[in-house]
Amino acid sequence: SSILSGSNNNSDGKGKTISYLSDRGDSKQVINEIIGEFEKNHDYKVNVTYTSKGTSTDQQLQKMVAAGNPPDLIFDTSADAYRYQRDGDLAAISNVVQDSELPDPVNVDGESYFAPTMVEPLMFWYRNDLYSSNPESWSKWETEAKQVSQSHNIKGFVTQSGQTNNADTQITQYLWQNDVEIYNGPSDNIQVTIDDGANRRKAVETYQWLKTMSQYSPNGSGWEWGDAIEALQQENAAAIASVGGLPILTIAENRPDLVEKLSPSPYPHPEGTKRSKWWAYMEGHVVRNDGKATEGAKAFADFFSKSDKFMDFVLSAPLFQFPPTRKGLNSEAVKNNETIQNHPAVMKLVKENWDSFSTILATGKDGAPNIVAADAYGQQLLGQSADQLLVGGKSPEQTVDWVAKQLRGLKN
């Protein structure tokens, strides 16, 4: 770039530069390699703008759109993808998705709009030296957490709450574990059902359980994923919820001695429920229809998914990100990854539960895309509901009423 005059994407030749917005700065190296190969084979240049995690992608996107300079390709979550689609901003990439074995979470009227590149499932981690066994069920978690809290100088559990993504995902997952149907209805007529009949009872039950568990937890309001991991690392808590093997990655660096004391576990569930939905983030590519190199962006999304570097991309954070397909999961690349080999239990969990992995988007009737849920996640309403319960002192019933009201407010 020149020092004095900025480079304007317009001037690079019309439609020949693909403007690519990505928050995957972590994998910058692999991405650059893939881009290099793409540029060799295609008459396009790819110009990446990296953003940090969180809302900064939204922010950058809004700026670019407002200036009439929207990106062609965005790396984003399926929920956001659906939101853009609803706004009419996306170009269909059915050929990229449907020709492959990729899941197709944003399919509207038969056209696919989202090319998944990775899956990040939620998971629990507990101290196998303090917990006498893998608790799994609500009641066992409760007894174990209680025992740990009382007999060791450590909290047995972490209940996270507040306006954060992790609190929101966790609360959602807890509700799912008790078969609470938060929403129902087809994509164009989503109903909030969390306070209907049996759902209400089960939701109250769930919040009640959370409240119980919070006795054995530090105040986790506003905690990010990293905060919970630190609680584990600093031995302030004996069990946390997290995404995939994320805790292992951090703790291996800071407390290598602790790694083998950690075991993964599925989310706690009340006795007798079937495990129907398992939260997994899904991230991938969307192509906007108002950019200057829409065709190039489609080509790049396709090239990316099929690139032989694709696995390198996914495995740049092993145990945390997983390939989007079962085939990928079983691939040699995954098998040969050293980190994954060291933690077979994680892989086992993922494989066993692969079919129940679900995104927040797919919570309409029969997994139809649910825009209300996507928005609720955007504002972390369920995370906030836990704050109402644990920090604000609302009863479980009041909490359910509160969250139902908020969700309905979104709908309108």
Binding site: S1, S5, G6, G25, S52, A66, A67, G68, E253, N254
Partner: protein, 290 residues
Amino acid sequence: MATSSKGAGSFVSQKRQQQIKRVGVYTTAILVSIFVTIPVYIMLLLAFQPPEVVFSGGQVNLIPQILSFQNFNELLTTTKTVRYMTNSIIVTGSSMVLSTSIAVTAGYGLTRFDFRGKSLTARAVLFSYMFSPIVLAIPLYVLFYTAGLLNSYFALTLSLTAISTPFAIWLMWQYFQTIPISLEESAWVRGASRWRTVRDVVLPVARPGYISAAIFSFAVAWNDFTMARVVMSSDNMYTITVGASLFLDRVSVGWSETMAVSFLMCIPPFLIALFLQNYLLQGFSVGGLE
């Protein structure tokens, strides 16, 4: 005619007041040292030790065990930290110089020249600080995009200068009013032009004033995240705040690398503080304090 009891009306004796003052002065000094030093100490502690040493045993070990550059090595090999730092230094330096110069010039003008609506203009300038900068990102981006100025040092320098200048001008305006005009007059009658007078007489005397302005503009520019995010969209042009925020939320980045990059981000501020400090001490101040 008057009472002879000096210091009446105060309940505490002179000596006592003096003692209180000394105790106060030293307590404050010590508290401040502790207050400032502790975070800095912790930063160094983490930055210069491998994480497993700091965190071993489930506690943050507050006594350093070994000296290691592992965290820096990690930073320098896997990230563009050097490039980001360079960018930051370039824009911060230029913005600081530009803003301070404008502030000195405008501040002097406001002090020594009379024109209509002078204080009104000056006040109006402060009003620009009242609009929440959060929502300005989008309008600014649109403007820069339209002007074709994205991704340039020039545009970022200009924007940062625009942020720091209004207050810097205020500072200088206020400061110049403390300089006796007779000093300038005595230069004028010797034939020194206005500019020459400013250079030879006003600026040396106004040193503490423009150093404040420089410190302020430095802080604005070095601290900036929003503007850099608006103007720069290419990896090579990111400043350290933006660049660091890109890799700091990586899953594998822990406190140690964070503190290492923090340490790097603290070096220029430290040098600036040290340099301006010495510069401030050189010579004198109007009252001949030092």
